[in-house]
Amino acid sequence: MAEDVKPTRKNLMEIEDRIELSERGHDTLEQKRDGLIMEFMDILDQAKDVRSDLNEDYDHAQETINMARAVEGDVAVRGAAAALKEHPEITSQSKNIMGVVVPQIESSRVRKRLDERGYGLLGSSSRIDETAEAYEELIETIVLAAEVETAMRKMLEEIEKTKRRVNALEFKLLPDLRKNQEYIEQKLEEQEREEIFRLKKIKAKKEEEASEAAEAEREADETAEEPERVSADD
């Protein structure tokens, strides 16, 4: 990986910029992840309460329908159930929690008056009314649970995504960039050392050449002086 990068000063500067940016991104994402986890913990507390209410309401609804079946008979209960005309509906809006869009679900026409249930006042018993009421209550709690659990799922998805990004920066991108930076720095230092060595060599060679030239000149001068001295002696 590091060997793919050209060891130039320009690349080194680019890598240093990318490291700085990645470190800033890593810190920001870490903060986001921690914030999301804190928000999630709040939702989890709410989810615990809703889940416990849901279990209670379901148990209660089961008890009432079992009682109604035992007293009125299964056919009577089914007959009353088939007569219902008003249907519960849900509408959802959205709210934003740290960039995560979570739904706010509202229900309508869940709770009904006796005369709205459609099976008639005379044709049914209080057991069936109680059962219908228990299930209406259960549906309200289900709507709340759906809202909270959807928010939880969405938050968890976002936490996982942020965590993956933090890990990719921390364990892949930043180490690779630092490795490249180190590689280029080493190569540049090596090039610098080679350059100094080469300059020293050239300097030494030039000095040697200069001293050789000076020596040769001195020798030439000496040889030129000697015949003059010999002729003078003669």
Binding site: I37, L44, R51, I90, I105, R117, I139, K154
Partner: protein
Amino acid sequence: MSREIAVVGSPEFTTGFRLAGVRRCENVPDGEKATALDDAVESVLDDDGVGIVVMHDDDTDHLSRRVRERVETSIEPVVVTLGASGAGGLRGQIKRAIGIDLMDEEEDDT
């Protein structure tokens, strides 16, 4: 856009919800759950008019791996399971995302 609530399960499970006015009920008798539950669940999950799907937690055991995964991760519509812990796929997802089994704590509290 208003949506409705759908209930999938045995006729004994869905009757109560019918009493509360729920009209989208997919009845799957206990003996047919192994073969027919997948289709029933998928039909409500694919229905744009359904916002919430209600199931019994034990019924998720009858689902194929693919449909169960859809049930556990579906957001629109969201699937609410009743009975047992009801935690569904949330537990695994929490463990993966947070690194701790927080539902364990939840069960201890409740």
